[in-house]
Symmetry: C2
Subunit: 336 residues, 2 copies
Amino acid sequence: MATDTLDSIAKKCGCSVSTVSRVLSGKAHSYRISEKTEKRVLEEAGRANYQPSQIAKSLRLGKTDTIGLLIPSIDDTFFSSITSVIIREARKHGYKVVSAETQEDERNELEGLSTLMASNVDGIIAIPSGEKSSVYEDVKRRGIPTVMLDRYYEDIHDIDVVSTDNYQAARMAVDHLVSMGHRRIGCVQGNSDTVTSRVRARGYRDAMKSHGLEASIMLKGSEFSIESSYDSTRDMLSDNCPPTAILALSNKILLGAIRSIQEKGLRVPEDISILSFDDNSLFNFLSPKITCIAQPVHEMGLKAVETLIAKIKGETETSRMFLSPSLVIRESVKRI
Amino acid sequence: MATDTLDSIAKKCGCSVSTVSRVLSGKAHSYRISEKTEKRVLEEAGRANYQPSQIAKSLRLGKTDTIGLLIPSIDDTFFSSITSVIIREARKHGYKVVSAETQEDERNELEGLSTLMASNVDGIIAIPSGEKSSVYEDVKRRGIPTVMLDRYYEDIHDIDVVSTDNYQAARMAVDHLVSMGHRRIGCVQGNSDTVTSRVRARGYRDAMKSHGLEASIMLKGSEFSIESSYDSTRDMLSDNCPPTAILALSNKILLGAIRSIQEKGLRVPEDISILSFDDNSLFNFLSPKITCIAQPVHEMGLKAVETLIAKIKGETETSRMFLSPSLVIRESVKRI
DNA sequence: AGTTTGCGCACAATCGTTTGCGCAAGTACA
DNA sequence: TGTACTTGCGCAAACGATTGTGCGCAAACT
């Protein structure tokens, strides 16, 4: 069954495509189409359950009502939550979203970006994976509205950013641990190519320093993965003078740390306290329930979509937004 | 910076659009374009970093190289895992994916489907939410290739299906519990509008019966949600003669059950054993590690994409595939 | 009777590709 | 010089929508 087109409907109604188009887009009155014709067209379109071809529309109008989402991996609770928000929010505004995964690989990032651009998306929300901002030059040259979400490039100021105030977040985390009596606080970081890890680590270091504590030897880790975190934590725990608390800079890092702690036969929080980034509904079910720094996932998705759409609609000033994290106190930090 | 088009390149090269098109699609030879012209075009296109407009291509060719994914919610580990597989697999075959969420609401399902069809996706992978298969009539009438993933309609046989053998899965689960000595086995199900829940419940009942056990009073639940499962489990545990083991028919149901068990002050598996559906990397970190029935997520995504593409390419026979689940034994089931 | 005005709609261009068909100029051969 | 190919490429239609312009006709004026 071939899909109906303006043309096929026009034929059935005995009028021209333009008339059908105008009726269906509600411009019947301003183009002085008679009520009789209008009704006829409406009827015919209704029974055919006519849907205009978005493709033809896009070609004509130069927009696709589609936003591209470039994300490391949807299979990660933080990213999937934010993706979910973005999809819902985009739809509210009449946008579809097509997603591409980078797997944290810069080549995939470049390729994904090309695919998105070739698909003529109206704008892009990207959580960059690579360290080189040059990946986004093509996007900039073509003037495709873009907002960086969560991660961004510190040296680029003409692309919009929506992120968490990660520096503040890390400081909050350290402050909480210190207020609970901890002084030997280890920190397991992610890939230092990413700002999030760098900024969080900086927050950690500065906070430690301002409490008069030593940070340098307690900061380990090189990847946002369970395996890497497992190794780093193990090293940390085998130290002569191991930390009494560990700050995990992401949910995956948390998991690696937990595994390593379990293997050592240690218990949380009795033997060691732990505080993680990235809240997650499952954290309430881990044993013990994990105290964490929650990023404002919903607000992040919301703002990302909103600012992207503002850009698409012609807003010109670029904005850099750093939303406030919050501390969710549960049971994984012991007072000592 | 306006994007380059065939036309703009043609002008720069002093030849026609058709020539440029043919060169760039590698048909230079068969259309007898001279090497000189070919090189000239290739050069110009290279320096402009020309990307053909997929929209124009789609309009002309009648395909978008896009597959639509209709999913209850990406913010659920089972669905996000499968989404991730689908996105990757689709890209391998040169397809993009645009996703729509239903939130388990039939109205959203219908709307999402319309949106996808209007976007002229080449095919649709759907995890249906509603109970009425009529939602898919429009899709069928238009002849859009579709495969139902995970969930499907038992009364419809002309749409392809890729799912788990849920009946077998439930039987495996019960058999395992029985082999561990359990005889009072409760089961918390999801929304019985969905086949998955119905078939799993049937498997549970039949397995119980074939072991000579009572199932009827031990089967509760009405929704795939933490809250609903929490309520059902609580009721079950307040029974005079509570179960010694609980079979949770999804990961969300597991969480509700755990919460309820925790509140009762019971311990898993000492006081009560639990076996869940839907494996998840976090299950290794719950305390205790959860024994579960794992669906072949990767294979499901893979097969869904493969059969959809086969359909798109013109394959006609419809297939119904029920992949084998596997039992992952961890620590949440005690021998009694 | 001639001119204006308003009504109801159709024509045709346009967006960027792909592709069937055919044309002009060159070469070969008789 | 005429016929017959070959070479190299352009023309134009088509995909399905949107939209500025203008045409034909009748009623209402002057």
